[in-house]
């Protein structure tokens, strides 16, 4: 259900561009207006979402950890899995964000004959997840060459490294193909594994279709059906300097590419893709486990009236003394005299 639905939406979007650009000639709409709107939605939507999340209260430290916490000096602490200091939290977060450390612990459960349950390491999701995200990131960094003039040196260096392999004369960007490959894997995983398919919704397939289309049109443009890159850079520079122009002769493939990017941007703040910002706000990842070392007071605890033992004894000291109950603070001499009298 979700699969078919997302597929139809993705096809409708592509057809919409073909129709809009090829038949109706709405080039300005697709090359300027929609990208601006999409960027605006992404930019403000992202910030709004983060601020909303930041306002939700996190009263206590939530240590879901898988290592020994800081304890007596002779018990070895797992400083990264169960950090007690800020540095440990930063290290744990960095490893999570850059290497997907918790996904590395992914296991696959199998039921065997006789009701035996086994767990085994399952590294493919981690591997392709990592390839996907890193490729995506590096492709975007490389794309800055369309948006920056002059092109800064580090992008050149990245291009040379990423394009180390050449096919005939042309640099073949590994990350471009890595992206396409990984998206395909992540999609097949959802379709082929029955349990994963069961929990997959339209919102899981849709971003994959969009990303697939972006990567596929990008690769088509670079290696198969050439586009006028200089004209596209003029367009991109026009957008970022707020003096947009739409040069002639840009292939419709590019319009599909940029429209799908716009779709992705506009969809981003309202979807699971917000995990990009959300990861940093995960209470189980971003807090040191120092519950036993420091007192954390729930900020919205109501003020409770308490009657401490001290106050209680002050109130009833004389009566207590009279019946011979033990006191923490003895009666003063005058009081004692008064009681006896």
């Amino acid at each position: 259900m979700g699969l078919g639905f997302s597929f139809l939406i993705a096809c409708a979007l592509i057809l919409g561009v073909l129709l809009g650009v090829e038949v109706l000639g709405l080039n300005y709409l697709f090359a300027v207006i929609i990208p601006y709107l999409a960027f605006g939605v992404f930019f403000f939507g992202f910030i709004a979402k983060i601020l909303k999340w930041a306002r939700s209260p996190v009263p206590f430290r939530i240590p879901t950890t898988c290592g020994q916490q800081k304890s007596l000096p002779w018990i070895k602490q797992n400083k990264i899995d169960n950090p007690s200091s800020k540095a440990g939290v930063v290290a744990r977060m960095a490893l999570e964000v850059l290497l997907f450390r918790s996904l590395f612990k992914n296991t696959k459960a199998d039921l065997h004959e006789g009701g035996k349950l086994t767990y085994q390491w399952e590294k493919w999701l981690w591997l392709f997840g990592l390839i996907f995200h890193w490729s995506f990131f590096l492709v975007i960094v490389r794309h800055l060459r369309f948006f920056l003039d002059p092109v800064p040196g580090f992008i050149r260096i990245l291009e040379n490294v990423d394009g180390f392999f050449h096919v005939d004369l042309q640099a073949l960007y590994l990350t471009g193909f890595g992206l396409l490959l990984a998206v395909t894997f992540l999609f097949l995983r959802r379709v082929v594994i029955p349990q994963v398919r069961y929990v997959s919704l339209a919102a899981d397939y849709f971003p994959l279709f969009v990303l697939f289309t972006i990567a596929a049109t990008g690769i088509l443009m670079r290696y198969f059906s050439r586009v006028d890159v200089v004209a596209i850079k003029e367009l991109a520079m026009g957008l970022v300097t707020f003096s947009p122009t739409v040069p002639e002769g840009i292939s419709v493939l590019f319009y599909i590419h940029i429209f799908m990017v716009s779709t992705l941007l506009a969809y981003f703040p309202f979807s699971k893709l917000m995990h990009m910002g959300g990861i940093f706000m995960s209470p189980t990842r971003n807090m040191a486990n120092n519950n036993r070392a420091e007192r954390h007071i729930n900020p919205w605890n109501p003020v409770v009236e308490v009657h401490t033992y001290e106050a209680y004894e002050d109130e009833f000291r004389e009566k207590m003394a009279a019946v011979g109950l033990p006191l923490e603070k003895e009666l003063s001499k005058d009081e004692a005299a008064a009681t006896k009298a």
Partner: protein, 130 residues
């Protein structure tokens, strides 16, 4: 404490995501004017590239690729263009014969679009020929 971290995080996000908008702020960016002012092109009756300009702009790397394959693998050195004209398939002796102002032509365009063909580590640039 928590709020401070959120603000810092968002500030980093905003700065990074808007790089293209502030990187060249105030500067005007223009596609390079390509100079066709070379003796070989001046001498042409009709100022036309091997194939039509549109095609050359987007597909010259494919063309060069075909040339290289033809020459190196098939041993065929003559290219017949769409309009029937014949050219020797050579990077140095054909393309750069006409476009001998490599810096104002090939390089200007490649710098603008951020590509760096590595051809010149083996092939000879026009200046070096002189």
């Amino acid at each position: 404490m928590k709020n401070r971290n959120v603000i810092i995080g968002l500030a980093i996000f905003v700065v990074l995501i808007t790089i293209p908008f502030w990187y060249g702020a105030g500067k005007e960016s223009k596609a390079p004017e390509l100079s066709l002012d070379t003796p070989a092109i001046q001498a042409l009756d009709e100022k036309k590239c091997i194939e039509d300009t549109e095609f050359m702009r987007s597909n010259h790397m494919e063309l060069l690729n075909d040339w290289k394959v033809q020459v190196v693998r098939e041993g065929n050195r003559i290219y017949v263009a769409e309009d029937g004209k014949e050219y020797l398939m050579s990077l140095q002796n054909t393309c750069l014969e006409c476009h001998s102002n490599k810096e104002e032509f090939c390089d200007a365009c490649h710098d603008y679009s951020g590509v760096e063909p590595n051809c010149w580590t083996c092939h000879v640039e026009p200046e070096e020929v002189k």
